[in-house]
């Protein structure tokens, strides 16, 4: 176990390094000039040069990269080139929206996928099972953008129950309002992700149904349901953990799009805006945090999987 953990840590570190390097170098080839943007339409070349020097953009790339990486270890991701605000502080502020959004989405996805997945597998020959299968196929084919827009049309425009867009300016000071603003977005991501997860749970359950231990349980006198619960579900649980990493990656990706649909001031939307504004330090920090999160999640999931079921030699 320890050796496995060590290998995975190495992979994680390697992955993070490769990610940071790729992100940094790729962004420096950007067309467009941040200094010119700050100077604005009335900016003269002299003003632009002054700003460029102030931001340290005239130093060699390797030096800038080293400085950035060094800063990452102390929690300093640099400051925005456009506004001077601290990247880390901005990320922390926007995370207030993205993390709860991700968490709610995951909960909804699990609550949606687990029961439905198991039921549709157990009854896969019946009409219920088939119906659930069809619905999940349909939901998995829906682009997350459209799902969000349709929910907005239904719940905000037609019914008027929930806000169409936005997040309260006062943040979490009024938790009720904040949660209200996150309901539709989390449901959107949760259901689309849940549809995919549900089909995985269904597969895993079907596999469990055909496995030895269910028959063993039957031989022991347990009903199919009882043996499924006692022996099969842990195996299903293991499979779910396997795919959890992918699910979380999917939720992050979904969040980037959904924050745009619902104009939530989260990390995803900030990323889209900053990419457009060529705010290099912000984009670097955001991409690193998001990718790092995915890599770390994958690492944790791998360890959990390995710890729970050391029989699995083939990773994933």
């Amino acid at each position: 176990m320890l050796r496995y953990a060590a290998t995975r840590i190495l992979f994680l570190a390697l992955g993070l390094l490769v990610a940071s390097a790729l992100i940094f170098w790729a962004l420096r080839i950007l067309p467009g000039d941040v200094a010119q943007m700050i100077a604005g339409t009335e900016g003269t070349p002299a003003q632009v040069e002054r700003i460029r020097a102030d931001l340290g953009l005239d130093r060699p790339l390797a030096v800038q990269y080293a400085e950035w990486i060094g800063g990452v270890f102390t929690g300093d991701l640099g400051t925005s080139m456009l506004t001077g605000a601290s990247v880390a502080a901005q990320l922390a502020a926007k995370a207030q929206v993205t993390i709860p959004l991700g968490a709610f989405s995951l909960l909804i996805a699990l609550a949606f996928a687990l029961p439905l997945g198991v039921v549709s597998a157990v009854r896969h020959r019946s009409r219920t099972g088939a119906a659930i299968g069809v619905v999940s196929q349909l939901l998995a084919a829906v682009p997350v953008v459209w799902a969000g827009l349709m929910l907005v049309v239904l719940f905000a425009v037609v019914l008027g129950w929930l806000p169409a867009q936005g997040f309260p300016r006062t943040g979490w000071q009024n938790p009720a309002d904040a949660i209200r603003a996150l309901i539709l977005p989390s449901i959107t991501i949760g259901i689309v992700e849940g549809a995919m997860l549900m089909r995985f749970v269904r597969s895993a359950t079907l596999q469990a149904l055909g496995e030895d231990f269910v028959r063993t349980g039957a031989a022991k006198g347990l009903t199919r349901t009882q043996s499924l619960v006692r022996h099969g579900l842990p195996a299903v649980g293991l499979s779910v953990i396997t795919v959890l990493g992918i699910q979380i990656a999917g939720i992050i990706v979904g969040a980037v799009v959904i924050e745009q649909v619902f104009t939530l001031p989260g990390i995803g939307r900030m990323l889209v805006t900053d990419v457009g504004a060529r705010d290099l330090t912000m984009v670097q920090g955001e991409l690193l945090v998001l990718t790092g999160f995915v890599l770390v999640t994958g690492f944790v999931v791998d360890l959990a999987h390995h710890a729970i079921d050391p029989r699995q030699r083939e990773h994933r």
């Binding site: 049309v153 995919m196 269904r202 992918i246 999917g250 889209v272």
Partner: protein
């Protein structure tokens, strides 16, 4: 009986194939004819409801929605085929490398693939778009690479499985080189798996194009991508809620058909699947 005939026998497979064919045909037809010129704007007929002569109504600038959807099929088809091909080529190449070379090479390829898999495709696409600007090529290449590594993993397992079959051992004994074995025996026998993966990656490509075009990193503004249409009507859904229906339905239908086609292809090309396993359907990698 051939795989295609078997596919036709499966009800869902039949329907899926028909839908995919219709969409491809629409794309083709739109090159020659659409009810209206999809680029023709008429500010005085903006936001017309479905009826005559605009069967699905018009958008905010008076363009005919039906014509836009038909023309949009072109982009969908292009991206699906492009990304699917790129993914398959990359996947097969990486898998072949991984399955057939010496241990050190194989291991490093495996590590390389493992690292790349962790990068969410959308983030890759945004990074590329940030550097070179958004375009359909960004979508095709980021989905191609992102899904390609997935296919590589699946394909590597398949190739190894085929590698152990008797006829391969016989071929090795008769002195064929590794690459000859690869091209004459392994790839053709693993082909069904690749074709199934191709269908699924095309579905993923369509979803990715919708998401990326919506964010502004995909199709150019002058081309009527379905995802782009969604972003154009978004500002007005509070006053024109039905405008989001049509592009969304088009995308969902296409993705559904391609996913179901993949599922059916799997069933059709591998009749040895147990009933239980046959009921298992594909869980696609998340793209957008």
């Amino acid at each position: 009986m051939s795989a295609l005939a078997r596919l036709w026998r499966i009800p869902l497979g039949r329907s899926a194939l028909i839908v995919v064919a219709v969409i491809a045909a629409t794309a083709l037809v739109s090159l020659f004819w659409t009810p209206f010129d999809p680029r023709r704007a008429d500010a005085y007929s903006a936001w017309a409801p479905p009826g005559w002569p605009h069967l699905l109504g018009t958008d905010g600038t008076g363009r005919d929605i039906l014509s836009l959807i038909m023309a949009g099929a072109r982009i969908t088809v292009t991206v699906a085929i492009g990304a699917g091909l790129v993914a398959t080529v990359i996947g097969v190449a990486l898998a072949a490398l991984g399955a057939l070379t010496a241990r050190p090479v194989r291991e490093s390829v495996a590590v390389f693939v493992d690292i790349l898999i962790a990068f969410p495709v959308l983030l890759i696409a945004m990074m590329i778009a940030a550097v070179w600007g958004g375009s359909l090529w960004v979508v095709i290449w980021s989905v191609g690479v992102g899904y390609g590594v997935n296919i590589a993993r699946v394909a590597r397992i398949e190739l190894r499985r085929v590698n152990r079959a008797d006829f391969v051992l016989a071929a090795q004994a008769s002195g064929l080189t590794r690459s000859q074995i690869l091209t004459r025996h392994l790839l053709p026998n693993a082909a069904p798996v690749f074709i199934v993966q191709l269908s699924w990656s095309m579905a993923a490509a369509v979803l990715a194009e919708a998401g990326l075009s919506y964010l502004g990193f995909g199709a150019p503004v002058t081309q009527p991508s379905w995802g782009l249409l969604l972003s154009e009507v978004q500002d007005y859904i509070t006053v024109h809620p039905t405008s989001v229906l049509w592009p969304g339905i088009a995308i969902t239908l296409t993705v559904l058909a391609l996913n179901l086609l993949g599922d059916a292809l799997r069933e059709a090309t591998d009749p040895t699947l147990s009933r239980g396993r046959r009921a298992q359907t594909h869980t696609p990698e998340v793209i957008a």
